[in-house]
């Protein structure tokens, strides 16, 4: 547990330090996320060796204290957060023009770590609120254009928090407990619990930008600074998703899981198709990437829904694999998109004509990341999708869902190849754009990692199957 | 003795309530801002003063009576200041 707390404290103190002395933000954050990553990996090793850990803060008795818990999945997410943070800060320390970014990024890291470790319904509310305020502030860093999307994001996320908080109030009124692990032994399927689950689910769906409550995401993610878009897409939407998954897989009473699963699965399919279609249609590059996040989150919802409805353990593994693969791929995609936007000085998709010749590495990063989003073998996205599809084929009743997943693959292939074909078009004659080779390679790095996941696919899947209960 | 004090306190409380009600009606019904300010501040100062008197007589300890007196002084002073500010703002607006 101590390693996990170290992994949380390092970015927190770095953030505070950077507020005091705002110089050399980039190097400090790179250093702190490296150290935090090391601590997170140490905690992962520790928890795999010696089993789940929990600590009651302050040494107060159960029920009264806030409980932090460390399980392999939390530790994995902790390490994943530090890794993404490291990759993004490596890229952004070459490009950043705003000192305010670094302190906020460190606080974002600390917030996410607090969220992964927490096991208390109200503490989650506080971390969620912290997460939204940090994200909104970071979106607003981009200046004039981004303020209205940021404001809209803030309003919707406040609405979501209030839904969640009302759900927590009902749960507390019904059971008198806020500790998640104790609640998971107590819940029964009565009206109050159902209403509380509904309210919390709706709130978390807004925060996690799950279809049809995703409307704030595309403008906010596409107007934010490049590094912020990457962090938001790769990490921030996963926070509410994590809580949603825990709530439904552990806390929801048996009577509700069936209906909830069906609802989530249907919403997931819609997200895949509608999000993909919007992504295909939009004229702006970063908005296309943002809509693709909406679509990809559909897989996560579908996996969760299937898990609840048919008790398929494999889909839970698929869910976590999706989270990891999507995080890495989306980081790469946003960084590459930002890099190309900077090179061409244009936000539109059509500006990419001939990008394969003028910005080959960035375009390559974009395409490679896109390959993982489509689910081309042997990428991380492919592993996740295969795990999701496999159990669907066994049962004739589930074929419509399998068909929907395949259709969504086609849609995502369509929006990725739309860019790729444009890029391989002949370049217009003009002055050679200024390129920053290091930045381009740094943008490629996460995409290579997501394809590297395939190399360790078998042990990874076996291990996840073991730990993802 | 005690009986008389209770009666006095009741009278004072009733007077306070009367001033507050009158002030509220004045605030709602008077035509312009000066009349309204007049109604409100009078209600605040006088009505609250009577209430403090009424409850002060019935207080079990002189501490609470003194505390209420301080509160009354603060309310009276701040209502005077805010009334002045509002009236002055109105005047500035009219001049423009």
């Amino acid at each position: 547990m101590n390693f996990a707390l170290v992994s949380l404290s390092i970015p927190l103190f770095t953030g505070l330090l950077l507020l005091m002395i705002p110089r050399y933000g980039g190097p400090w954050v790179v250093l702190s996320s490296t150290l935090s990553l090391a601590a997170a990996v140490a905690s992962l090793v520790e928890v795999v060796d010696s089993g789940n850990q929990a600590v009651l803060l302050g040494g107060w008795p159960e029920l009264l204290a806030i409980r932090l818990h460390l399980e392999p999945i939390n530790a994995l997410l902790l390490a994943f957060t530090a890794l993404i943070q490291l990759l993004v800060s490596l890229y952004w320390s070459r490009n950043c023009r705003n000192d305010g970014f670094w302190a906020l990024a460190s606080l974002l890291h600390a917030t996410l770590a607090a969220l992964w470790l927490s096991g208390d319904l109200f503490n989650w509310y506080v971390t969620l609120e912290l997460l939204s305020l940090v994200s909104v502030s970071m979106v607003a860093l981009a200046g004039k254009d981004s303020i209205k999307p940021a404001l809209n994001y803030l309003f919707l996320s406040l609405l979501a928090s209030l839904c969640y908080l009302l759900g927590v109030a009902i749960i507390y009124g019904r059971y008198g407990v806020l500790d998640f692990q104790i609640l998971s032994r107590m819940t029964v399927g009565d009206t109050s619990t159902a209403m509380a689950m509904l309210l919390m689910t709706l709130g978390l769906m807004v925060k996690g930008a799950l279809w049809p409550l995703h409307l704030w995401l595309p403008p906010a993610h596409s107007r934010a600074p490049t590094a912020v878009s990457a962090l938001l897409s790769a990490l921030v939407v996963k926070g509410p998703l994590f809580i949603l998954t825990l709530l439904w897989t552990r806390m929801a009473p048996m009577e509700l899981t069936d209906k909830g699963g069906e609802f989530l699965a249907v919403m997931g399919v819609f997200a895949l198709l509608v999000g993909g279609w919007c992504s295909f249609r939009t004229p702006l590059l970063k908005e296309m990437v943002a809509y693709s996040t909406v679509a990809q989150l559909g897989y996560v919802m579908l996996a969760l829904g299937l898990m609840l409805q048919w008790q398929l353990r494999e889909t839970l593994v698929a869910l976590w694999l999706f989270v990891l693969a999507h995080g890495l791929a989306k980081t790469s995609m946003f960084l590459a998109a930002g890099e190309m936007q900077r090179i061409f000085g244009n936000k539109r998709v059509t500006a990419l004509r001939g990008a394969s010749q003028t910005a080959p590495v960035a375009m390559f990063a974009f395409a490679v990341a896109g390959g993982s989003l489509i689910g081309l073998p042997p990428s991380g996205g492919f592993l996740a999708k295969w795990l999701l599809l496999e159990p669907l084929f066994y049962d004739l009743q589930r074929w419509p869902l399998a068909f929907a997943v395949l259709l969504s693959t086609l849609v995502s292939a369509a929006y990725v190849f739309r860019i790729v074909t444009l890029a391989f078009d002949r370049a217009e004659r003009g002055q050679a754009p200024s390129r920053d080779r290091v930045s381009e390679w740094l943008a490629l790095l996460p995409a290579l990692l997501v394809w590297g996941m395939a190399l360790v696919s078998e042990p990874l899947i076996l291990w996840l199957t073991r730990v993802a209960q | 003795m005690n009986e008389i004090m209770v009666w006095i306190s009741w009278l004072a409380v009733m007077a306070g309530v009367f001033f507050f009600v009158a002030g509220a009606i004045g605030l709602a019904r008077f035509p312009d801002i000066h009349c309204r300010l007049h109604a409100v501040t009078k209600a605040d100062t006088l009505g609250m003063g009577f209430l403090v008197l009424g409850f002060g007589i019935r207080a079990e300890h002189w501490h609470s009576a003194a505390l209420m007196l301080v509160i009354w002084l603060l309310v009276a002073a701040s209502s005077a200041v805010s009334c002045h500010l509002l009236a002055r703002y109105e005047q500035l607006e009219d001049e423009q």
Binding site: L133, L154, L159, L162 | -
Partner: protein, 97 residues
């Protein structure tokens, strides 16, 4: 005693719904901020009412509401600053009456 609590729970649900309605229909940023705050007050009223169930009020719930109050004032301030930056008119108009 329970009847009183039920009444306050009724008021709390009304406040929550009224805030929700305001947030849906209102366009002006100030109205939306106020609506969010009304919703927050609704949740807090529900929590405080639940705290008053026992003869000795529940301090845990009071602490939760106090934390929530700080969070809500932070969010309100951020929203108002964002709103000011987004919609501020060049010449501030006189806004009284």
């Amino acid at each position: 005693m329970t009847d009183t609590l039920l009444f306050y729970l009724l008021v709390a649900s009304f406040l929550w719904a009224a805030g929700l309605h305001g947030l849906i229909v209102a366009r002006h940023v100030l109205r939306r901020v106020i609506a969010v705050n009304i919703m927050t007050a609704g949740v807090f009223l529900a929590l405080v009412t639940l705290a008053a169930r026992a003869p000795e009020p529940d301090p845990v719930l009071h602490a939760l509401v106090l934390t929530g109050l700080v969070i809500s004032v932070s969010a309100t301030a951020l929203a108002l600053h964002l709103g000011t930056a987004a919609f501020s008119t060049e010449k501030p108009e006189p806004t009284t009456r």
